[in-house]
């Protein structure tokens, strides 16, 4: 365990690295900013999934219902005249948190496989509801015509998506710093304890259910922020934002990057979406096979996800330097 000062330094460097990588993306790929903004929105979704799966041990295949709740709430608000971007993000976060409260209340009744199935059933119900309430959500055509007013009244959301990207990057960094504080707080430690041994935590006198529910609400707020960002940047909310496929992809990205570290969630998202983008551009027929092969390879080579792999390499390097195993 590094000292408190060392941990602070590491986190500051980590955040600076994220900012640097984000700005590098801005300069290196000026034509792909829409894709990069999408990556940031999905990264928020994967971070939110990491909170409940990586830190609390509650696996979910329905996280997109929180993302979609945020996206649709801010989309509907925008169509009805609320066009200030920060307000829209706040609306998305609140809607996501409310959906998280609902979803947590239902999901925490079960354990293991049943929990996973409940999460699937919830996202399918959200999907059906968004499909049927076409008067508000546009149904399968999607909700279009979102006209967002300039950020702070100055920065227009332009055709190239520069404002949207930088706005998203700032949002991601802000959320990331907030989550770093949350997961290293006593509350975050309690969640990790629950993940390792809920019975023992209960014996120590803590109430498990309210703690997990609180994490669900926080997770919902993060996912809702991501959904609102996706809605603002693309100006369209489609049914795919509340689909099982998106939820499953989010879980895959998380496990790919490594559970239980916030960096792992970001790394997994960037690598998965980058890989998917490149492979589907090279050969649209084979991208699914390639993605599948990547997943199998990760399980065989790096069972702890990519961040677990880098940690292992780092540690073995260190022990080699020390001259002993």
């Amino acid at each position: 365990m590094p000292s408190v000062g060392g941990r602070w330094l590491r986190d500051v460097i980590g955040v600076l690295l994220i900012v640097a990588a984000g700005l590098a993306g801005y300069w290196l790929f000026p034509d792909n900013l829409a894709l990069l903004t999408r990556v940031i929105a999905v990264a928020l979704l994967v971070l939110s999934l990491d909170l409940i799966t990586g830190y609390c041990g509650v696996a979910s295949l329905g996280q997109a219902s929180l993302f979609g709740a945020g996206a649709y709430a801010s989309g509907i608000a925008c169509v009805n005249g609320v066009t200030e971007p920060l307000t829209l993000i706040a609306i998305g976060a609140v809607a996501g948190a409310m959906a998280g409260l609902l979803m947590g209340t239902i999901m925490l009744r079960a354990h293991g496989l049943a929990q996973l199935v409940l999460s699937i059933a919830i996202v399918q119900l959200f999907h059906e509801a968004a499909n049927k309430a076409s008067a508000y959500t546009g149904g399968s055509d999607g909700l279009s015509g979102l006209m967002v007013s300039p950020l702070f009244g100055m920065f227009e959301f332009d055709l190239w998506g520069r404002t949207a990207y930088l706005f998203g990057l700032a949002l991601l960094v802000g959320v990331f710093i907030a989550l770093k504080f949350i997961v290293s707080s006593p509350f975050g430690m309690l969640c990790r304890g629950i993940k390792q041994d809920p019975v023992r935590i209960r014996a120590m006198g803590a109430y498990v259910f309210p703690v997990l529910l609180k994490m669900f609400v926080i997770s919902g707020a993060v996912a809702g922020t991501g959904g609102a960002l996706a809605a603002i940047s693309t100006q369209v909310v489609g049914l795919d934002s509340v689909s099982f496929e998106l939820s499953a992809n989010a879980l895959v990205m998380l496990v790919l990057g490594g559970l239980g570290t916030l960096y792992g969630a970001l790394v997994g998202t960037v690598i998965f979406m980058g890989f998917e983008h490149i492979v589907s551009a090279i050969n649209p027929f084979h991208w699914m096979t390639m993605v599948g092969a990547l997943l199998i390879a990760v399980v065989l080579v790096a069972p702890g996800g990519l961040s677990g792999l880098s940690e292992r390499i780092f540690q073995s390097g260190k022990s080699m330097k020390g001259g002993r195993r």
Partner: protein
């Protein structure tokens, strides 16, 4: 009355088709503790083999089913040896990642070789004609599916409860290390039960093709349905799977008949209600 009867018959046949596919998944999840999301992919492979044999080669329906089962099991053996064996006993999320990867690969390869179109499996004369049962006529194929389902349920029950192999299987499930110490060759037991599970998926994929049409995204489209059925029934339980398949089949079919515009709504609402009341499924074992 006529509507109720036809809904009941359709629901029963659909439930039985679901049962044949899902019981294999229930076995792998309950007995071997592997969350095999690629189960539907094996049913799909069987459907493609049967379609190729019956439509393109012009072989009989029975031969097509037989070839499909054999072919799918043969394909699954190297997968079990090389991939599945490494994830026995792994955390669930690792298993999910691996089996989703396998599903993606199979979908991608099938799409490349057979194209994205729907494949049909032509039925023989005797099954495509309606059969008169006295009270009313039923499509022969529906009767055939029902018979297969009942046969599979009784056969499996006999295999697990009454035979020597069943005793070893149950011992391995309850305590693999102890069974191993007592001389049960657990790797062999695992391999055989995996083969049985895949064979049942293959059978279900072929005879259920009328309800769940064969196309490349079959594996992904019905993955959720299969998983839901198994967890509602309780993983590893045959009576649980029967009840869950019949109940969910009935809910789904009734919903489609009476309120087609609400699609899956009833199905998933019912699933949430059932899982909240029975968190371990109808006949799940306490963990």
């Amino acid at each position: 009355m006529q509507t109720i009867l036809s809904i009941a018959i359709d629901a029963f046949a659909y439930g039985m088709a679901l049962f044949i596919i899902c019981i294999g998944l229930s076995l792998t999840m309950g007995l071997m503790r592997v969350v095999n999301l690629a189960h539907g992919a094996f049913a799909m492979i069987a459907g493609y083999i049967a379609s190729y044999a019956a439509r393109d080669l012009g072989l009989g329906y029975a031969i097509a089913i037989f070839l499909a089962i054999i072919g799918t099991v043969v394909i699954s053996i190297p997968l079990e040896r090389l991939l599945y064996r490494r994830i026995y006993g792994s955390p669930e999320l690792t298993q999910v990642l691996m089996t989703i990867g396998i599903t993606f690969c199979i979908i991608g390869i099938t799409n490349y070789f057979f194209g994205p179109t729907l494949k049909t499996i032509p039925l023989p004369e005797s099954l495509s004609q309606p059969v008169d049962l006295g009270i009313r006529t039923i499509a022969g194929h529906r009767l055939f599916v029902m018979a297969c389902g009942v046969l599979v349920a009784v056969g499996l029950w006999y295999l697990i409860e009454k035979t020597d192999f069943g005793i070893k299987l149950r011992a391995t499930v309850d305590n693999a290390a102890m069974a191993d110490a007592l001389g049960v060759r657990t790797p062999v037991i695992y391999a055989i039960s995996f083969a049985i599970a895949i064979g049942l998926a293959a059978l279900g994929g072929v005879v259920g093709a009328e309800f769940l049409p064969i196309e490349p995204y079959y594996a992904l489209r019905y993955m959720v349905t299969f998983l839901v059925v198994v967890s509602v029934g309780g993983a590893g339980s045959i009576p649980g799977a029967v009840v869950a398949c019949l109940l969910l089949g009935a809910i789904d079919t009734t919903g489609r008949y009476l309120m087609p515009e609400f699609g899956n709504f009833f199905f998933y609402a019912a699933v949430i209600a059932i899982v909240c009341v029975f968190p371990r499924g109808f006949f799940g074992r306490a963990q």
